[in-house]
Structure formats: C-alpha cells, structure tokens
Amino acid sequence: MTMCAWCSTSTDVMDGFIHALTHQAFLQTALAAGLLASIGCGVMGTYVVVKRIAFLAGGIAHSVLGGIGAAVYFGLPPLAGALGAAVLAALLIGGIRLQWRAQEDTLISALWAMGMAAGILFIAKTPGYQSDLMSYLFGNILLVPRDSLAFMAALDVLLLVAVAAFHRQFMAVAFDEEFARLRGVPVAFFYLLLLVLVAVTVVLMIQVVGLILVLALITLPAAVAGHYVHSLGRMMLVATLLGGLVTTGGLALSYGPDLPVGPTIILLTGGLYMVSAVVSRHLARRRAHRAFHGAAGEARHG
C-alpha cells in the first residue's frame, strides 16, 4: 500500500471496487454481511440511543470475548460461544442495573474488563488461535464465511419479529419505566429482553467490525438518524440505511488501498456523526433565529 492509493479519484476507487465486487465472491459475501449487520444496528441502536444505555451495550460487547475464548478453548464454534456469553452478559448487566443501582457503573466496568481478561487467558492457552484475536477485536468482514450469512439473517429475523411483536412494551420501558410498571407491564422482563436483543446485535456485528468497535456502529447511525427524524420507527429505518451506507462505503474505501475494513467503517461512521452533529446544531440555531425574527413570540398555548 502506498500513499498514492489516497490520490486516486473517488471514481477510480468506486470503479475498481464495483469491478471487484462483480468478480470476487468474498466481496459479495462481505457486502451482504455489512448490510445484514446494518439491520441489527439500525433497529437495536435506536433503543440504545434513546434509552441511553450505550455504556451497558459496551459492557455486553466487550465481555463477549470471554465467551469466544471459552468456545475456542473447548473446541466449540466461536460465534456460538459469543452468543452465549452475550446473552449471559446482558442478563447479568441488566440484573445489576435493576437490583443494584448504586454501584451500577462500577459493576458494569468490572464485568466489561473481566470478560475480556478471561477471553485473553482462554485464547492464550489455545494453540494456534492467537492470530484470530485481532479479528475478534476489530473484525474482518472479508473473512466472513458464506454460511455465516444465514446465521446473521436468522438473527435479524429474530430481532425484527421481537421488535414488531413488543414495540409498545419496548417503547414504554425505554420511555418511562415507572409508568410502564403502573400499567402492569413486566418492566424487568422487557428490559432484560431488550438487552438480550442488544447482545444478539453485538454478535451479529462482531465479524463485521469486531467487539471493540461494535459500540460505534450500534450507536452512531441511530444518533445521526435522531438528528433529523423524530419517531422510533423512522430512526430505525434511517439508521439501518445509514448503517448500510457506512459498511458498504467502508468496504469500498478500504478495498483499493488494502486497509483494514473494520476501522475504515468506524472512522467513516464517526466522521459522519461529527459532521451531522455540527450540521444539525447549525440547523437548530437557524430555526431558533428564524422563530425570533419571524413571527415574534410564537403564541404560547396553555
């Protein structure tokens, strides 16, 4: 890779990528994996952002390494270990949040770090697996096996069915837990279910961006969507589309200069978020300015 890769025009990059895409099966698989992951990150990321549980989601994502490590040590499929560990971490972290509010952040930090430490120990004691550590941490979308796509699609279907069935309950628990409890909604159950679905999303995205970078891809597209649309359903849709855009864009940008895809996707997502934060702030200020200079003192109603 040379710096000159950066000099090539974007048209060249896109032409090269599109050409490769039509000829290389692994790129098609990678593209599909990115799009499948976007559905999870758009739908569950919206809840993570509006409920402000990014820290909990981070704890779940990082402690998943413990499950991956244990799975490879005992000769099981790593993704199965990841799914088991993610669900367990979601229940533990959710239980802590519901029962032990006072030390919530410290306890979650402890689980976060212990899960990672356990994973590193297991992987260190498994001959031949050290080299895969980096791809668990930072993802490698180019190495997604074709049969993983069916697994990812199944997880997406699971998420969409759960959210469609319990949309009212999830919204109520995300919005106002106390009121939901008074209306007879089993808040603890739906809160834990929500976190389990976040855990499923983390597993969905591990191969794409890895468990360290996953948090950005869950939260940032939804946060950008939240700058412009104001309903949970629309946020989910826009965040899914943005997720598809950044995973595909990251794949395309990294292909020519042979950059690691996961970090490219994340920098693209982070850049998009920052630009959007500045733009939406500017738009809000302009609206406020206009309100003041337009109909001075908009009639206040009750």
């Binding site: 949309h167 106002d176 106390e178 939901a180 409890r181 104001h230 109603h301």
Partner: protein, 244 residues
C-alpha cells in the same frame, strides 16, 4: 368492595429508605369521590406516601388497601402524574404516542395500538384541551402543555383514582388555575389525591387537606388556618409559602 368502602385505607403505615423513617404511624382513609390535598414541607414524605398508595414502594410496617386490594393489584385503576417524569425530554415521541401509553395493560400483548386505544387517547386529549398538540414532539411543549399531556396519559386508562404529585410546580399561576379547574371537573367522576407544597393555593379547590410531616399531622375539612400551618411548618411559614 361496596360503594361505601373507602377507596384508600392506610393503617399504621411506616416506611424508610434507609436508617431514618420517612413515614411513621400514618392512618389515612379516603372515601370515594373525595378531592384530597396532601400538603407538608419538603422531604416530609408526601411523594413517598403517593408511591406507597401506587404500589411502587412496599411499606415496612402497616397495611395499605386501595379499592379493597393490595396497591399493586389496584394500580391499573389508578392514574398517576409524577412530579419528576422519568423520561428524557428529547425522547422522539409525540403527544399522542405518550398518551397511548396509558392504554398499556388493557387489550392484547402483541402488536400495535388498536382503534379503540386511539379513540380513547383522542378523547383524553380533548378532555385536557391538548388535541391540537397530538402530533407535536414532547420536547417542544411548554411546561403547561407537558402537564396536560401527562394528565391525558393518566386519564386514558379510565382510572377510578387520579393521583398527582405537584402537578403545577413548574408552570405559571394562570395555567395552574386552569389545571385545578379541570381537576375539579374530573372530581365529579373520580377520586383525586393531589400533593402540593402550596397550601394556600390548593385549599380553594380541595375538599379536605391532609398534612404530612413524617406522620399525618392533621386532616381537616374546613379551610386550613394559620394555627394548623404553624403546627405543620413551625415558625418558618412565610419562607415555606414563598419558596415556589
């Protein structure tokens, strides 16, 4: 329960969050159709009393019956407007969707709100004169508009008892009167409990006042006079009355 049974009954209730008791030896009976004002100094246990009645907290001592049942089993028949709503004002949700949440627990578990839910939400918004706000984001509402929305959310489940914690704490006096006029009309068909620190203001609206300062200091039907205020607040009456 029969019509003559009390709507709310507390017997020798005691509650503590930690070492120091917040409420002690509280005996209180509320009859159907009453409009009860609960007053008392800050940290006197007013909000805690409401949360016990709602079943959000369990007393360490004593017994609470609401509509003849343990509070938790009665909560679907209660409408509640909290002092500090537990949601972020920038949550992406409209007034209508917020009001619809009051319909949870009636109807099925799966899927979306039905036509009956939407009709009930509309009716509740009309009742509090918030129907023009239906599609507004809650983050864009004024204090009074938000309070109307939360009142509609409490009313949409057709409660038998309406429980409000400082419903007018952050809104101006004219709107405060509007809201209490509305509560007066609602009182024709439901029992109302309202917490306030503003004893002078609410005494014009409520039928009876219960004064709470760790225990039930007094409950009077007649207008609350200086002597009782003195008993409740000690020597700092003026300060207390002017703090809002």
């Amino acid at each position: 329960m029969t019509a003559a049974d009390p709507v709310i009954e507390l017997r020798d209730v005691g509650f503590s969050y930690g070492a120091a008791p917040v409420l002690e030896e509280v005996d209180l009976t509320v009859e159907a159709g009453e409009f009860l004002g609960i007053v008392g100094p800050n940290a006197g246990g007013k909000s805690t009393l409401l949360k016990l009645v709602l079943g959000l907290l369990e007393p360490q001592r004593g017994d609470i019956r609401v509509l003849g049942r343990p509070p938790r089993d009665a909560s679907r028949h209660l409408g509640y407007v909290a002092q500090y709503p537990g949601f972020a004002r920038d949550f992406p949700i409209t007034v209508e969707q917020t009001v619809l949440m009051g319909r949870l627990g009636s109807g099925g578990w799966l899927g979306r709100y039905g036509r009956a839910d939407r009709a009930a939400a509309w009716q509740a918004m009309v009742e509090v004169e918030a129907e023009d706000l239906a599609q507004r984001q809650i983050g864009s509402l004024s204090g009074g508009q938000l309070q109307r929305t939360l009142l509609a959310r409490a009313l949409v489940g057709a409660p038998r008892v309406l429980i409000l914690d400082e419903p007018t704490a952050n809104i101006d006096q004219r709107v405060e009167s509007d809201i209490f006029d509305l509560l007066g009309r609602l009182n024709e068909r439901m029992t109302i409990l309202v917490v306030s620190h503003d004893i002078a203001f609410i005494s014009a609206y409520v039928g009876r006042v219960a004064c709470i300062n760790r225990t039930l200091v007094c409950h009077k039907t007649e207008a609350v006079e200086g002597e009782i205020i003195q008993e409740l607040y000690g020597d700092h009456v003026r300060m207390v009355q002017h703090q809002h």
